[in-house]
């Protein structure tokens, strides 16, 4: 097995998860407590990577990050090198592509928190930030864990965006899924099988962890749709 690719995959997944937790928490809270057209637009934008072929996202990111557009040229000047075909570019692509997997469980978890608890805390003088961290987040912690595990595993499993955006540079952009593709192309089926098995095993473990988590229940007793 390509251990360099394994190490890169794990680094990419961990960094993507970290970024998504930072961005996803406020975004999910805003979606869960918002209403109207703004909320619908945000939800649609977040869910877009679920329905688009990853190649579409990869293509546009390639354009935006490349020297053909003004934002691309700015990014190149800021980073000192083109982001496409680098780990940094891959990270941005992964984060966007896994965004729905991080945000949607959080939104479901936040929506399952009865508004009465938020009012109870505010009625005791707690400011919104304190209400969020001391009451809402602990009550939605199962969703938080689900969100992190899904973001991580989905990043491990992505292929199209990586291929479009990163190419196949060992140590910089060649992840396990790309390495598997290469192995099959070369006809090394035994090595491909080991890599594939590693990915299957990993995903299985992650899913078992999610289903072992205490379920998030709504106050009306219905199960919240954590994975939807």
């Amino acid at each position: 097995m390509d251990f360099e690719a394994l190490w890169l995959t794990l680094r990419l997944a961990a960094s993507t998860t970290a970024i998504l937790m930072l961005v996803g928490l406020p975004l999910a809270w805003w979606i869960a407590s918002g209403r109207g057209v703004g909320r619908a637009m945000a939800q649609a934008a977040v869910a877009l990577p679920l329905v688009l072929p990853p190649t579409v996202l990869g293509f546009y990111l390639l354009i935006v990050m490349g020297p053909l557009t003004a934002p691309g040229r700015l990014l190149i000047r800021l980073a000192g090198h083109p982001l496409a075909f680098s780990f940094g570019g891959l990270l941005i692509g992964s984060a966007l592509y896994s965004l729905p997997f991080a945000v949607q469980p959080l939104v479901a978890g936040f929506e399952a928190v009865d508004r009465g608890y938020i009012e109870a805390a505010a009625g005791l003088g707690a400011a919104p930030a304190r209400v969020f961290f001391s009451v809402v987040l602990p009550m939605a912690r199962a969703s938080l864990l689900t969100s992190a595990v899904l973001a991580f595993t989905h990043t491990v499993g992505e292929f199209g965006v990586v291929l479009m955006l990163g190419g196949n540079i060992p140590g910089a952009t060649r992840t396990l899924s790309i390495s598997l593709y290469d192995l099959v192309e070369e006809g090394s089926y035994a090595a491909a099988n080991r890599t594939a098995l590693a990915l299957v095993g990993f995903s299985m473990i992650a899913l078992v962890v999610i289903y072992l988590l205490p379920s998030t229940r709504r106050s009306d007793g219905r199960q919240a749709d954590v994975v939807r």
């Binding site: 009865d114 009465g116 608890y117 009012e119 109870a120 805390a121 505010a122 009625g123 005791l124 003088g125 707690a126 400011a127 919104p128 209400v131 001391s134 009451v135 602990p138 009550m139």
Partner: protein, 265 residues
Amino acid sequence: MEGRPTLSDRLLPGSVLPDSLLEVRLKHRVGGVSLDVAFCLTQPWTVLFGPSGSGKTTVLRAIAGFVRPDEARITCGPKGEILVDMQEGIFVPPHLRPVRSAAQTARLFPNMTVEQNVAYGVQWGSHPEDEQQVLQEVMEKMRLTTLARRKVDGLSGGERQRVSVARAVAAAIAYGGAGKPLLLLDEPFAGLDSVLRDELVVLLRDWLRQWKVPVLSVSHDAGECFLLDAQVIRIAEGQVVDQGPVEQVLAEERRRMLERLRMGR
């Protein structure tokens, strides 16, 4: 606790509350009720009295800031600090109002123990010893001391209710702002057995009076209003129909209660 002045020693002298604690003018349509009320709080304990569905809870929630009324002006304190003026577009968010509240349904934070719940709204950051003492006293008075370290999910309905009220009372006494906040309690003694209820009513009344924490509560129990010796605002179908001392406003209820007692004999 020896050597330290008790908190009661630190209470301000005199027992007079400001002339006007709260002025409310409120119009709001909710469900089938169209609420149109105006009243002024002047007494240490006032009860909104009326049948269920008459709009009492909505009034309380509007004062706390959880309802955006259609039309309203709510001011509090002697200086008439504006909490809500829908015409002027003023709507102070709940946590910034000089108000502490407990809803009718006890929403206890499930990730905390009983004691942590009660301590949640305590704000005297610079006086940890006083905080501790207030907490202890609240826990004792509300008969919660033995439950202090329990998680809240195993509590009975009556216990949950007591924790919810204790939490609001502690937050009102250990209020971080200037003066004392108005304490809003929605059916605070519902679900308690009558002996314990009568005890707690008298205890809380005297204790909160000592701390100069004014209270506006909701009830449909005339006996409770008499025990509280409260000012009563009677509400029916979204309108204030009477306001005054309990003996006056609930004279009819009192006559009926006595009648029932006599008949039972």
